[in-house]
């Protein structure tokens, strides 16, 4: 019984890590721009695909070049994917969101634009690569350790440690650095930020880089854990991560992080005791109850401004 519980906790930590990493990206962009970036789940998908192409290229599957050893491929794929995916995120910001922001349109239209961007990414992928699924190469030599009936893989540990490491890093950036301070300032009062000599667009681009690279990391780790990629893989996990961010309290990175893990735990625990088809029904009912109890999320506070 205890073993089963421990095993489920480990599984939930891994599963929650994906939600948490994606939820952080929603949270950052929302915090800074008050924009729900509905394309973010698809950025995660794009990240997984970029990781697929980068790693298979480095493994020597396209050109007639000798492939690199898989540990080196992994070590190169992670930064390359984060970089390239940030490029996609920043590109969306430049071509889709910034022009609307310049015109000062209602935020609703920007949110709709984000939804459209997500659909374009999904269907662009479908058109470009076809509907066949891609299977992600194995980059990590699998190691399994068993303690009683509890089994831990090195991948599981990598996922969980990455999520916590990234959160620590992000938290440091937001609370300790000047650009992090500028992000917080922008979330409070965007009018006054340029008055401090700070270009708001630079801060916004930086925010998209952070969010997209975290989604990219989630994409790599997800593809390593569940090595089948399809163009719609980001849609449902993206929606769920968004809901997780809201339940945690969107606008607070601790909230988004905790929210991701709550959703992970609820889903895994439901499946542990009920048929797996009940998973989403139960999971979202529980989240709904949390929302009713705390509408601003677990870490959220209703923002007050002083005039």
């Amino acid at each position: 019984m205890f073993d089963t519980l421990l095993q489920n906790i480990l599984n939930a930590l891994q599963w929650g890590s994906f939600y948490a990493l994606i939820a952080l990206g929603y949270c950052l962009v929302y915090g800074v721009l008050l924009l729900i970036n509905f394309a973010h789940g698809d950025i995660f998908m794009v990240g997984a695909y970029i990781a697929f192409f980068v790693s298979t290229f480095l493994l020597g599957q396209y050109l007639d070049i000798p492939g690199l050893p898989s540990w080196l491929v992994l070590a190169l794929t992670v930064p390359a994917t984060m970089l390239l995916t940030s490029g996609v995120g920043v590109f969306l910001e430049r071509v889709a969101y910034r022009p609307l922001r310049r015109k000062g349109v209602n935020r609703l239209y920007v949110v709709i634009t984000a939804l459209m961007c997500g659909l374009i990414l999904e269907n662009g992928n479908l058109a470009l690569l076809g509907a066949s699924r891609k299977s992600f190469p194995e980059l990590l030599d699998k190691a399994i350790w068993t303690f009683g009936s509890v089994s831990v893989t090195n991948l599981k540990i990598l996922v969980i440690v990455s999520a916590f490491g990234v959160f620590w890093l992000l938290n440091t950036i937001v609370t300790k650095t000047k650009i992090g301070m500028a992000m917080r300032a922008l979330s409070w009062d965007r009018f006054a930020v340029p008055l401090m000599g700070i270009p708001p667009d630079t801060v916004i681009v930086f925010t998209f880089i952070l969010g997209s690279s975290m989604a990219a990391l989630a994409g790599i780790l997800f593809a390593m854990s569940y090595p089948v990629l399809d163009p719609y893989m980001g849609a449902s996990i993206g929606w769920k991560a968004f809901i997780a961010a809201v339940v945690g309290g969107i606008g607070d990175i601790r909230g988004a992080f905790v929210g991701g893990f709550i959703l992970g735990f609820v889903e895994i625990m439901v499946v542990a005791f009920f048929p797996s088809s009940y998973r989403d029904l139960f999971a979202f009912t529980i989240l709904l109850i949390i929302m009713t109890w705390k509408p601003t999320g677990l870490f959220g506070v209703a923002k007050t401004t002083k005039i």
Partner: protein
């Protein structure tokens, strides 16, 4: 006469489709305190926002005329460049401090683009000697400050950006009289040390006592100008803005 620090020439400005300023002209010289007074809705804040070029959509649209700083047009200057390259800082109406940051972080943020990092420590000390209350509350979230302290923070923040030209929008608003005089005394000190000040104020009596020169605005135009004393003696100004 030398080139003025700021020269606003025949400025026409629209908000949406409504023209808010109809051919406004005035100048501010280096080392001066100049005030714009006038009733609510005369266009005083619009004038300041036209100078500071806030990002769209907030920015009022200049349809004709020019705004020059040291003889160079700044109509195309990005608002952040005005602060970091040209030394112009605005203390906006309503203060707009960052309530989710601590007092110290608010000051620190204003040093974001400064290149002379070696002088920053000295400038903090200067701010804290001008406003000892801010030193006491350094680590507090700034939304917990009183209105007067927030105003000090807003001015302190502008000074941390190393401005040489300070634009103030209604600094007396919401302040108890004692704090208000304190604030103006501090501003006077800053001016004596070389800071040029453009002050927008509803409290016309206070503003005219404080300023070297003043302009009276009404519905988007300058209707009177002169030294502070001249304007205070002007019967029409007296009647309209100084309570008879």
């Amino acid at each position: 006469m030398s080139t003025p620090l700021l020269s606003v020439e025949n400025l026409h400005v629209k908000y949406g489709n409504i023209e808010a300023l109809h051919g406004l002209s005035f100048t501010v010289h280096e080392g001066e305190i100049v005030t714009l007074i006038g009733a609510n809705g005369a266009g005083k804040t619009t004038t300041l926002h036209s100078i500071t070029r806030l990002p769209p959509p907030e920015a009022p649209r200049v349809t004709a005329g020019d705004i020059q700083l040291r003889g160079q047009s700044i109509l195309k200057t990005e608002p952040q460049d005005l602060v970091r390259n040209l030394g112009v800082a605005l203390v906006p109406e309503g203060r707009h401090i960052f309530g989710n940051l601590t007092v110290f972080e608010n000051l620190e943020l204003a040093t974001y683009s400064r290149k002379d990092t070696e002088n920053v420590a000295r400038d903090y000390e200067r701010i804290f000697s001008l406003f000892p209350r801010l030193a006491e509350r350094k680590k507090q979230r700034s939304e917990s400050l009183s209105g007067g302290e927030q105003q000090m923070l807003a001015v302190g923040r502008a000074l941390m950006s190393k401005c040489t030209f300070l634009l103030l929008d209604e600094p007396s608003m919401g302040l108890a009289p004692l704090l208000m005089y304190d604030m103006f005394r501090t501003l006077k000190t800053l001016n004596q040390e070389g800071m040029t000040i453009l002050l927008v104020e509803q409290n016309a009596r206070l503003a005219l006592q404080f300023a070297h020169r003043g302009y009276v605005m009404d519905t988007g135009q300058i209707v009177a100008q002169g030294s502070g004393v001249e304007l205070m003696e002007n019967p029409e100004v007296k009647k309209a803005y100084l309570g008879g």
